[in-house]
Structures are given as C-alpha cells and as structure tokens.
Assembly symmetry: C2
Homo-oligomer: 383 residues x 2
C-alpha cells in the first residue's frame, strides 16, 4: 500500500484490458490489435462493436446476424418519448435529456432485474442500449424543433439510421460513411473518465442502465466529452470575426484564452483519430464545395504548431479538434456533438464493463484524512 | 508510476479529505472530527448536512436559515411527477425510478447550465437536490400503490417530511427521531463506490445532476447499497421458516449461502453505525411491542460471532445488518431501503464533489494492455 495520493489517478493501473491500446508518444491507437486507421477505412461501426464485444472481427454471417439483432432493438416506447417531449418543452440540454432518456430505458427492458454480471446478459443488454441511444437522441432533437420523431428504420445501418431519424431523409453515401467512421473512431479509448465511471458503477453489480447513465453524465463534462462542441463554437466565432483564423487565434491567446481541442492526458503528439478526421473533413469539403471549416482548422493547427510550438511541448490536436467541423458539415446541430460521442462510446462502456466483471472487484479507493482530530460536540445553544 | 495493477483500487489514496475519518480496526467513524455516536444522539440530519458542507456545526440561527432554505426546495414539477407515474405503471424498480427522477430534475433548475465548479454553486445545487430526492421517492411509492403523491410540507424536518409524504400522516416522535438518526448515520462514509463515482463524474466538470444520478446508479448495486434490502429479506425468510434464527442460519450456511450485512472493505470489527442502529432497533421494538426483528438479528449475530468465529476473522456486522429491521419497524417498504440510503448519502456526494473540485484533477486511471499486438485486418470475405 502506497501512501502517496494519486491525484486524478494519473498513471494508476486499475485493470488489465484486451480492448484498446494507446501509444501516446507515437500517436497510435489499436482496438483489439487492429490499427484504428484500418478499422476506420475498412470496418463499419457495427463490425467494430462486434470486434470490441467479441474479440474478433465478424464473418459476413456473424455480422449480418449481429446487425439484425442490433437494428431490431431501435424502437423506444411511448413513456420515454413522452418524457423526452416534456424535457424539450423545458429546453433541457440534449446531453442531460439523453442521460434521463437512457436511465428511463431500463423500465422497458424485458429482462430488467436480472443480475447482470455474466457476459451474455451484459452484451444482450448492451445491444439494446446501443440500439436505442440514437433513437432517444434523435427523438429529443425533433421534439425541440417542434417536429415529431421519425421512427427508426431497421433497413439502415446504425450511422445511416441516426442521420435519417434526425432529418427524415436518408443520407448520401459520403455523409453515411463519414459518420460511420466518426462513430468507429470514438467507440473506445482505454479507461477514460466515462468508461472508468461505467466500470465503477458496474463493479457494485448495478445494472448496465446505471453504468451507461453514469457514463453519459461523465461524458457531459467539458473536460471530457464536451470539448468537441467548444471547438465548433470556436470555428463559428472565427467565421463571425473580421479576422482570419490565425489573427483570431493570436488575439484569443493574447486574451489568455485556451484553444479547445488541444492537449490530451495520454497523447503527446497528434491524436491518430484527429489525423483520420482531418482527411474526412477534407473529403467532405470537396464533396460539398464548402472548404472553410477544414481550412480554419488547418490554419489554426499550423499556427499553434509552427509559431507557438505547442506540439513540441507535447500539446497537440486531439480528436475533438477535427470532429466538430466534420459533424457541422454533416448538418448536425452543435449541441448534439457530445451526445453523438455517447452514442458511439457506449460500445466501449459495454465492452469494459463486460471485461471488468469477468474478474470483478468493487472499485473503492480511499482518501487520506487531513481534517480535524476528534472533538466533542458543543450543544447548539452554547455555540 | 507504479506498474502494479491496483485491483478495485484497494488502498489507493485518490484524494485528501477533511470529511469523514474511518478507523476500520477500532470500528470508529467521525464526520469532521465528531464521533458518529455524538452526532446520532445530539445533531439532526440537517445539522449534519450543514456540518459536512460547511465544516462546523451550525449555531441556532445558521441552522434555522439552512433548514428554511432546504425545505423551500422540496417541491418537484409536474413533468417529473408525470414521468414517475409512467415508471410506476411499468413497475420500475424504485432505485431506477429515483435515478431517472433525479436525472430529470436538472431541467427544472433555474441555474442549470452554470459551470458548477465553485463551492457556492455546488452547495446551492446540492441543497436543491437533497431537498427534492425524498419528494421524488415518496411520489414514486405513492403512484405505484395507486395513490396520489402527498405534497411536501415545509413545516416538517427532512426526516418527518419524508415519512409524512410516504404515508400522508405525520410520524410520531420515536419514528421521526429514529429515521433522522438513520439518515445521519448514512450521510457520509469516505470514498465508497458511489461517492467516488460522483467525484469522478464531477471531475469532468459535469454538473451535479450528472454526479448525483451516477451516485444513485452506483448505490443501486447489491455489492454497495443494495445489501440492506437483502438483510430484511433474510429476516423475513427466517420469520417464514419453521426454524429459529440460529437453526435457519446454520442450514443457510450449510447450503453455501452468504448472510448479508456482514463484512466490510474498511471495518474489520463491528461497524459503529451498526452499534447505534442496534440500540435504535431495540428502542423501536420496546415502543411498538414487536421485538422479533431485533431478536432475530441479535441471535444471528451471536451465532456468527460465537459459533462461527466470523468476527475473529475480521468479518463483522456492517451498517446494513441493522438498518433493514429499523426501516421495517418504521413501516417503510423493503425496496425503498436503498433509495433511502441515497436520500441520505446525497449529502456526502455533494460534500465530496465540493471538496474535490477545490483542487480538481480529471479522474482518469489507466489499464494495462494485455491483448493482442498489432495485427492486420483481413477482408470480411476472407475471414
């Protein structure tokens, strides 16, 4: 037992994992041994979920069966949509609405109450949750725009179906593939704060709804999942200013502002997911003819790298720095970026919970007591 | 950086804290330096909350002002009760209903969206949450019994008001004081799994609704808060059996069953809260004339201690072993015991979040990668 306080648990190893491997110095990321770039290029989000949950990439028939099961669970019941409608009337934050909606899904689970500590139950519940998150989110977004939810389609892929439920129109191939890639890139990332939260909750043998609801809550924090929205808000600010992106960045830094989307607890070089999203952002720009978002991002990156030397100092673009402009080009409202992150990361939460529970130990650290030593209570009229 | 995996984070110090001190070998517990028995005897739950949140026990006028503020926030809005009613129709588990209800409260917070990292905001939001949790829970219980919720009374104490909302009748003094003591005893307990979960969520700068919702989820696990219900179910089983409690225990152990309410990660002797609740259970028994629950508990304890030598092995009665029969004697439905725990522990969650955020560091441990090394993706039709 060490007596040192491990602030933020930085560097503390809390579990062994076969899921994702990160090399922060080389800027590399693998899921189950596969480089993230190969998965982004050649696997779908569903295939990646299968990989994370089962350990190997699926054969065609395994994938077909998995996709069928997943898509058959997309519908949510009227009690949940009713609550989402009420939350929309209160103009609730979409991430908070997702948290409430996800929590409420447990009531509709036919197997609720089952002690969820075996792999089969966890994955089955995980499929239901993963299938329904996009439906909750899209329904909420429709309600707040004064529109009725679009019923999910079982015929579309996970990525396509979400964009379809959001807009009522099936997305084109570039949009669908780009969004599928973004989901793939965000599906897992070691023991980040939300994944670790989900594991901690599950380590009490609470159900997966509790674990995933807690994960959504953790991801809502601006120091974790919230940063992708901040990046897009920054780009919109650049666009609205009279300055170019470099000038804007210069004066923002002079004002003591932080540029969001830079720096990561693990990566000291450019996040490999940012590399991939940069390519996708560029491809989207070429497909739509609107290149300014990608250009702003690149110019800010060049300035911070070349003029400010941030990358030399180990502060480099992270995944959020490019995801914002990708989602913007897909026409997704800015405040849905973090909920979309949850839609993807739920795959990692389920995988880590499943893995941790195979050799569970209640997660319960300690604090060092630094308060007053024993004192006696003075009656209230003598205080 | 240590290379050892700290399974369950056992013994890992994650923060400094001035809140509660536990001596697991002596079986002692202090809040802010005050022995728990003194607080149980001579402070109210509201006074204890004030102590935890502010560092000192209140003067009479400080307490009056605190009680007024707290009781003024008891009402919940119609959107939340509407959702609770729908959950009751689905016969949702009360702890899951509480999780959803608490999550939904954020939509009604007039200050929602405020970055909640300063002490003032955290405590103000903490007051709102603490005030409303009992209302959510009592409303849910009324709905599932086919009754309308009872509006909270601002005139009653936190403990009295909950029992009043549950039954529609003001409790007698013995019941009110016993329940107040139970709330006091459960308010804080170092970095247990739910408190640590709330801190982890808050360390991302997520709002307090996310942190407390996650805490409720963690507490729902049978390895954490769920055990008090298990104890009462055991006692009911004893009561329904033809055997006496000792005989019943003997055959349960022979069947390889674990007796719930025994053993604790921190205490190797009898939990000091169990000592206090044992007295209260006895007092309740004398007040009601129904002594069997207290007797069963004591006989099982004597058997496990004297015949089985559990206490010698460091496995002793924990707080859950006596709280179950106390709540039962107060007429509280068995499946509300864990939600009641949350009603109290929310005080500790808020206190620890507040304390941790004064010197925040995102909680993000690591895992040791033990999976496959880099491999190349085989096209799906060649798998």
């Amino acid at each position: 037992m060490t007596d040192q306080v491990r602030h933020g648990l930085e560097g503390v190893l809390v579990a062994e994992s076969e899921l994702s491997k990160l090399d922060g110095d080389a800027g590399e990321l693998w899921y189950r041994g596969y480089p993230i770039a190969e998965l982004a290029d050649r696997a779908t989000f569903e295939g990646t979920l299968y990989l994370l949950w089962n350990g190997s990439l699926p054969t065609q028939s395994e994938l077909d069966s998995f996709v069928d099961k997943l898509s058959s669970h997309r519908r949510i019941d009227a009690a949940v949509t009713g609550t989402l409608e009420r939350l929309a009337q209160r103009d609730e934050d979409p991430m908070a609405a997702l948290r409430t909606g996800v929590s409420m899904l447990s009531a509709g689970d036919p197997e609720r109450g089952l002690v969820p500590t075996d792999s089969e139950t966890i994955r089955r519940t995980g499929r239901r949750l993963t299938a329904k998150l996009p439906t909750v989110l899209a329904a909420y977004d429709r309600f707040r725009r004064g529109e009725k939810p679009v019923e999910p389609s079982e015929e579309l892929s996970h990525a396509e179906n979400f964009l379809y439920m959001l807009t009522g129109t099936e997305p084109d191939d570039v949009a669908a593939e780009t969004f599928d890639t973004a989901l793939t890139l965000h599906a897992d990332h070691g023991l980040n704060a939300s994944t670790f939260t989900a594991m901690t909750v599950a380590s009490t043998h609470a159900d997966l709804y509790s674990a995933v609801t807690a994960g959504v809550g953790a991801l809502s924090g601006p120091l974790h999942g919230g940063a992708n929205q901040d990046v897009m808000e920054t780009l919109l600010e650049v666009d609205n200013s009279d300055d170019g992106p470099v000038e804007w960045t210069r004066s923002a830094l002079d004002d003591g502002r932080r540029i969001p989307g830079w720096g990561h607890r693990v990566y000291s070089v450019k996040d490999p997911r940012a590399e991939i999203l940069e390519e996708r952002s560029d491809a989207l720009a070429r497909s739509t003819g609107e290149s300014k978002w990608c250009e702003y991002t690149r110019e800010i990156e060049a300035h911070l790298t070349d003029e400010r030397g941030l990358v030399e100092k180990g502060i480099a673009p992270n995944v959020d720095f490019y995801s914002g402009s990708v989602y913007y080009q897909l026409g997704i409202p800015v405040d849905l970026y973090t909920p979309i992150f949850a839609m993807s990361r739920v795959g990692g939460w389920v995988a880590h919970v499943d893995e941790y529970l195979t050799d569970n130990r209640l997660i319960r650290p300690r604090s060092r007591y630094v308060g007053l030593e024993s004192r006696s209570l003075v009656p209230i009229d003598e205080r």
